[in-house]
Symmetry: C2
Amino acid sequence: MKKVKIALLGLGNVGRGVYIILHQNKEEIMKRSGYEIEISKILVRDLNKNRGVEVPEDILTTDFEEILNDDSIKLVVEVMGGIEPAREYMLRAMEAKKHIVTANKMLLATEGDEVFEKAEEMGVMFQYEASVAGGIPIINGINENLTANKVNELYGIVNGTTNYILSKMELEQLDFDSVLQEAKEKGYAEADPTSDIEGYDAQYKLAILASLAFGTKVDINDVYREGITKIKPIDMKYASDFGMSIKLLAIAKDDNGRIELRVHPTMIPETHPLANVYDSFNAIFINGNAVGDLMFYGRGAGDLPTGSAVVSDIISILRKNIEVENQNPIIRNNLWEKQVKNIDEVESRYYIRVTVEDKPGVLGQITTIFGSNRVSLKSVIQKGRKNDESHEVALVLITHKTKEALINDSIEKLYDLRTVKDIENIIRIEDFN
Amino acid sequence: MKKVKIALLGLGNVGRGVYIILHQNKEEIMKRSGYEIEISKILVRDLNKNRGVEVPEDILTTDFEEILNDDSIKLVVEVMGGIEPAREYMLRAMEAKKHIVTANKMLLATEGDEVFEKAEEMGVMFQYEASVAGGIPIINGINENLTANKVNELYGIVNGTTNYILSKMELEQLDFDSVLQEAKEKGYAEADPTSDIEGYDAQYKLAILASLAFGTKVDINDVYREGITKIKPIDMKYASDFGMSIKLLAIAKDDNGRIELRVHPTMIPETHPLANVYDSFNAIFINGNAVGDLMFYGRGAGDLPTGSAVVSDIISILRKNIEVENQNPIIRNNLWEKQVKNIDEVESRYYIRVTVEDKPGVLGQITTIFGSNRVSLKSVIQKGRKNDESHEVALVLITHKTKEALINDSIEKLYDLRTVKDIENIIRIEDFN
Ligand SMILES: NC(=O)c1ccc[n+]([C@@H]2O[C@H](COP(=O)([O-])OP(=O)(O)OC[C@H]3O[C@@H](n4cnc5c(N)ncnc54)[C@H](OP(=O)(O)O)[C@@H]3O)[C@@H](O)[C@H]2O)c1
Ligand SMILES: NC(=O)c1ccc[n+]([C@@H]2O[C@H](COP(=O)([O-])OP(=O)(O)OC[C@H]3O[C@@H](n4cnc5c(N)ncnc54)[C@H](OP(=O)(O)O)[C@@H]3O)[C@@H](O)[C@H]2O)c1
């Protein structure tokens, strides 16, 4: 059996998963890769931390140079996260002709080009399956198995924390704050959950997925982003009345070379496969012009699921000839230049929940505003008094498909009406056609 | 741009899909493969058939030797189906150092070893993504992206025709015969639907999937098989009362090196992701010891979806260096030897529907038989008279988990009871835990 030495940068959640899998599934991995893998060094910050796995003390190090300068280490697994020093370490490892596996979405979504180019320049292999949707093989799915397709649309539930929260809100009629609190206690949400609940995490992931699916460079700032904090139990209830679920979707569409990139809460038909993705599961739904509809579903995070992707990446590098240069697959994010639509140009149906004075003529005023903006309403539902003293009622408007700019304009005019007390929520509706 | 010549064997459904995709997505395919692909020959039986695509006449041939002897043809796409002459043609093409892409499940499930070995021997690349579940990248998913895992279980809805029929029966309360008739008219079922409705097609596919997932050789005859023809609307209704759906599942489990392989109608909880796979869609649900639960969902048949898999396989071959030998991935179906359980040894819960005489004491007789066989019943539900004159009632029994042998033995004894008029149906229940 051939032997190969590798190093890990980081031994947190993902690093632990990688460590466990390499030991627990040693026989499978040897047979499938043709190599006995030895983890010869692991970079950490704190040598004394309890890591939930027993690691021989002498392989932990706080000094990256030890890894860099060890020529017997052929492959480096970056699972430390963040931009720096992860970026610097990867670039230098590649310069030292080491192959790289990474799980770092933030880096790939922002500084991806630089590392791709360095891998190309140095002729080393570079794999990053774990960077999006953890254990789900969506990166290789797009890069290797959908290559015959023009991808038309991609819809992802790519953040487990927010899907857990929305699922709980939907299934148990709970409010956002209490579910978030519980999620924190159970470890499903971080102490500072901003990156998840405000959609930043999904934004990174969408930038990576869209860039690969469309073969174009994507600037993270071109991805429109909205989080889930404004979703109320009452929105969940109305959605359910309409036969809909609310999910935080990462959406990318290619409209004849002009692309849409957006992350926001979305009402989707409850019969759609994505609507049945509950709990902290992730799923990516793709429409390709040859394959039609395709969905990948699984665990988007966690030590072992994410480790599964990392270790499968390691195996895929080892199966190629690691001694031969330039075995990289073609980098595909600079094949086409595509223009990104502004969110104003996006077309969608909309759910709009407003509180208005319970007076005759209010409905007429509102429908007139939408009408004058060429927004046609599919339904206007009066949902009863808010409470008896206020003389306010809730109205739920569902529009036909229309440009977002026209919605925004209508909303501004609604605010001018004295009878409109508040625009409580606006949620985009996706019909998948 | 580099150029490469390929040949197709067959221009039926899949061949047409491949032809269309290679033309329609030419630019995508060029950029992603690095090659301009020319289809220089297509083997058919009938030169004059209308094929739904316009093909230059001079590339059609009925003579395989023309393809074999043309050294400029580097890659052969086998989409003719059947064992012979497909087997012979592939072996000879490989001997002539041509790379192969095939969609032929029947051949792979029965004579797979021979073609794998020939590919290895000749150092040519061999891809077969389209052979199972059409456009869904499940073969590469298992072979490339789940390699870090020990696969514990695999459950597939891998036959579109039967899933279409069962979906219609479930959603529209129709009976099997009328849905089958309609499916034939719509082209969802073949004139002779035996291979689909009796589970043979799923049996082939399971043999291939299990062999790859478990890294072991699978004899097609070791796959237990039952079709869907016995499913009645009343079974669908009872299933629904219990919160279950009925699907034709292809099931493979690895129980510490002893494996189960079976295709049969199965009741599954309606909350399970597989229960929401409707219409002619396919899905494969896998549990790996690292990745956890994972599901792939999409189109399992059709010209373009299947063509998508074939063309992506072509691209993946072209991306490697087609001039260099021995770039095959390691063949993984001979890594372990596993023993296959007999269906008698399988453990499951069971739904048993019987018609009995409406007499006092009958229930007692029946429960005594199960009890004496150590089969414990979870529920026994009497479903009212069949009709008023017969004095017969329907009983539905749901068992706890038990060995199939004990069920069979109990059923035999039931037949001996004079009060038992008929055992109408027995359906295995899968709880996924
Ligand atoms: N967690 C998931 O489920 C998941 C899923 C998909 C992708 N990812 C990605 O995987 C990466 C790792 O995530 P994680 O959850 O495992 O993170 P984590 O638990 O915070 O672990 C980070 C590890 O890196 C080490 N580290 C960080 N900065 C370092 C530095 N400057 N020098 C040396 N060591 C350093 C830490 O050392 P100490 O332990 O000594 O502090 C720790 O062991 C991130 O890019 C993340 O986005 C994570
Ligand atoms: N259909 C699907 O959706 C699907 C999905 C996944 C996998 N597959 C697999 O793909 C393969 C092809 O399926 P298909 O549906 O495309 O079959 P098909 O429509 O029956 O087409 C078969 C083609 O092969 C040609 N052919 C057959 N035997 C031949 C022979 N002895 N010499 C020369 N040409 C011959 C036929 O020529 P003529 O046209 O002249 O008769 C025809 O063009 C099969 O292995 C099938 O299992 C099919």
